[in-house]
């Protein structure tokens, strides 16, 4: 019996042929494509490549700001210090700490969001077993057509990628 296959992994030596291959694959209607690049490209290369990071960080920031302000408001009312009749809710003095906690919360939640969305930490992944893949983090662009899409038969995809001057095409085991 053939071992289960994760997908068809193709390497490209330059960004231009990688882009052509991605476009052609998308024209075939195939959506189960993964791509790996040695540096970030602009968004929209792949389908479903949108990110909620911005909104999540914004909400975290709002939460940090209100939490930070409330902390100080509560503390000054919990143990009131009357200094010359000045108001307990001396809000201008609370702004610096409110700001710092806004930044802190947004930043920490932001990085946790990245880990969550990208499924990190993940110590193993099928593509990492391919020796060619070592260059994905250096100077090669990779496309992986996943095996679990019934609409993307491996052989025709192989031809599309070969036409786009893929350097090498091979299946990776799951």
């Amino acid at each position: 019996m053939k071992p289960p296959v994760h997908g068809l992994l193709a390497a490209f030596a330059d960004e231009a042929s990688f882009r052509i291959a991605i476009r052609k694959l998308r024209e075939t209607g195939c959506t189960r494509i993964d791509a790996y690049t040695p540096y970030p490209l602009e968004t929209g290369i792949l389908p479903q490549a949108t990110t909620p990071v911005g909104w999540i960080m914004f909400c975290a920031g709002v939460l940090g700001a209100s939490g930070g302000f409330f902390l100080q408001w509560f503390a000054t009312h919990d143990y009131p210090l009357n200094v010359g009749g000045r108001p307990l809710n001396s809000w201008p003095a609370f702004i610096p700490i409110t700001f710092e906690l806004t930044v802190l919360t947004a930043a920490l939640v932001g990085v946790l969001t990245l880990f969550f969305l990208a499924g990190l930490p993940r110590l193993h992944h099928p593509v990492l077993t391919d020796p060619r893949f070592k260059r994905a983090s250096q100077d090669r662009f990779f496309i992986c057509v996943l095996a679990d899409d019934p609409l993307c038969p491996g052989e025709s995809m192989r031809r599309v990628m070969a036409d786009a001057h893929a350097e090498s095409i091979a299946e990776v085991p799951a």
């Binding site: 790996y36 540096y39 970030p40 968004t43 990110t51 960080m57 700001f99 930044v103 983090s137 100077d139």
Partner: protein, 457 residues
């Protein structure tokens, strides 16, 4: 119209990267420093010297914890001595890292690419050194957690209206966010290190810290958004941190401290000293590790210009201080300024003027600015000058305030100097470890930079 035969600007000096660099070559050049450990003699000499100073720091701290802060030269009226001088100096040095990595990113200054990783590391280590001082200065450092808001059995809370309490939040947030920003930047590079490591052990170790990053195009989308937003958060953060440090002084009523110029003047001074530290470190390092192809003469030139620009803001601060003292007619302010210039600490004041006001002016000449030796000496002098500036601000203001009966002098002790020297050792020891184990330049960003160059002018 330019034809390929007519280069617009002549000379490799103008380039931000040497000609002929490819994705493969930048990755190899940068990752070989930690992986191959070239120039071991330089590394071991430097690291061991720094480590000896770390031992001195440990001794100084152990003695401090045993005997209390009486081993330092502080006393009434100068109760803020070296500890606060060093704190402000170190935290200022840290600011250049965030400035380069966050503010220059948001301003689309591509020249930051080959220096941001190193300066971010510098930020972290400088903040680590800075953070030590307020804790050591507490007197009873074991109770440092009293500074944090937690529901304690006495029903007490920290004084949220005090800039010193703001400092607790500002510095700890700054340290945390700088660490997160640095690590997020490192993540794809750790994956590269994993893939280039020669031994299984190294590959496992780098693999563990890379968390399984594999450059997935969908992950990059989240990553880029996060990186941009972190830069957007870090930019106002860095301004807020030194503003709050400035307010530590400005909120007091002491002549020489009680001034609205302090927050902006402190921020400019921080970036000024930070850039001078970056230059002091990068000039020898690029020579030793032969990185002139990645950190070019143009980088040094641009950094020198930022140093001059912020230096002039600092000079404006000095002038404004004197002008304000004269114009306000306040006898205490006037006395303070006269006392700075001709009083018992006049030598410090004139050192400060020579280092911070005179020395950078040599950089107006582009010939001198491009002379690496001159630039290095100027940067070194500015480092000294910025330390002396904080000494002048802290000590000369405190030692003679309103009542002549309460005047006094400040004499730093052996332990003051050892703690300062010890943190310098700690800073360098951490930097050497960073150079030994992590890529000092962002390979990911350099690859993108090279690719954008190849794609066309």
């Amino acid at each position: 119209m330019n034809t390929p035969l007519e280069p617009r600007r002549a000379g490799p000096d103008e380039a931000l990267i040497a000609p002929g660099q490819t994705m493969e070559s930048v990755t190899r050049t940068i990752s070989d420093i930690p992986l191959q450990h070239p120039y071991p003699r330089f590394w071991w000499t430097g690291f061991l010297l720094a480590f000896a100073l770390v031992m001195l720091l440990v001794t100084a701290i152990a003695w401090l914890f045993t005997r209390g802060i009486g081993i330092w030269g502080i006393n009434v009226p100068v109760a803020w001595g070296f500890a606060i001088v060093n704190f402000v100096w170190w935290i200022g040095i840290g600011h250049a890292g965030t400035f380069i990595s966050a503010i220059l990113l948001l301003l689309h200054q591509t020249w930051r690419t080959s220096i941001n990783r190193f300066t971010e590391a510098m930020t972290l280590f400088a903040v680590a050194c800075a953070g030590l001082f307020p804790l050591l200065h507490l007197g009873r450092p074991q109770f440092f957690y009293w500074l944090l808001p937690y529901p304690d059995s006495m029903g007490l809370w920290p004084q949220f209206r005090s800039p010193l309490e703001w400092d607790v939040f500002a510095v700890s947030t700054y340290a945390t966010v700088s660490l997160v920003f640095w690590y997020v930047g490192l993540l794809p590079d750790l994956a590269t290190m994993r893939d280039r490591a020669a031994t299984r052990f190294k590959a496992r170790l780098y693999g563990l810290f890379s968390l399984g990053w594999r450059g997935d195009a969908r992950h990059w989308v989240h990553y880029q958004k996060l990186y941009l937003l972190l830069a957007g958060l870090a930019a106002p953060l860095v301004i807020s941190v030194h503003t709050i440090v400035g307010l530590d002084f400005a909120v007091a009523i002491l002549p020489g401290w009680h001034s609205t110029i302090f927050p902006p003047y402190f921020v400019a001074g921080a970036i000024f000293s930070g850039f001078s530290m970056v230059l002091t470190l990068i000039i020898p390092l690029r020579a030793v590790y032969k990185l002139q192809g990645l950190i070019t003469a143009r980088h040094l030139d641009l950094m020198a210009k930022v140093m001059m620009a912020t230096g002039w803001i600092v000079i404006y601060g000095y002038v404004e201080e004197f002008f304000n003292a004269w114009r306000s007619g306040n006898i205490y302010d006037r006395f303070m300024d006269v006392n700075r210039a001709v009083g018992p600490y006049a030598a410090y004041f004139w050192t400060l003027m020579a280092c911070n006001v005179i020395a950078p002016q040599f950089l107006w000449s582009s010939r001198l600015r491009r002379n690496v030796g001159v630039l290095f000496v100027v940067a070194l002098l500015v480092n000294v000058g910025m330390w002396v500036e904080r000494f002048v601000i802290v000590v000369t203001s405190l030692h003679r305030d309103f009542l002549p009966s309460s005047w006094g002098m400040y004499h730093a002790t052996f332990w003051d100097y050892s703690t300062l020297a010890g943190t310098i050792g700690l800073f360098f020891a951490l930097l050497f470890l960073f150079l030994r184990f992590l890529p000092a330049i962002s390979m990911t960003e350099m690859r993108r930079f090279v690719a954008s160059k190849e794609a066309g002018p």
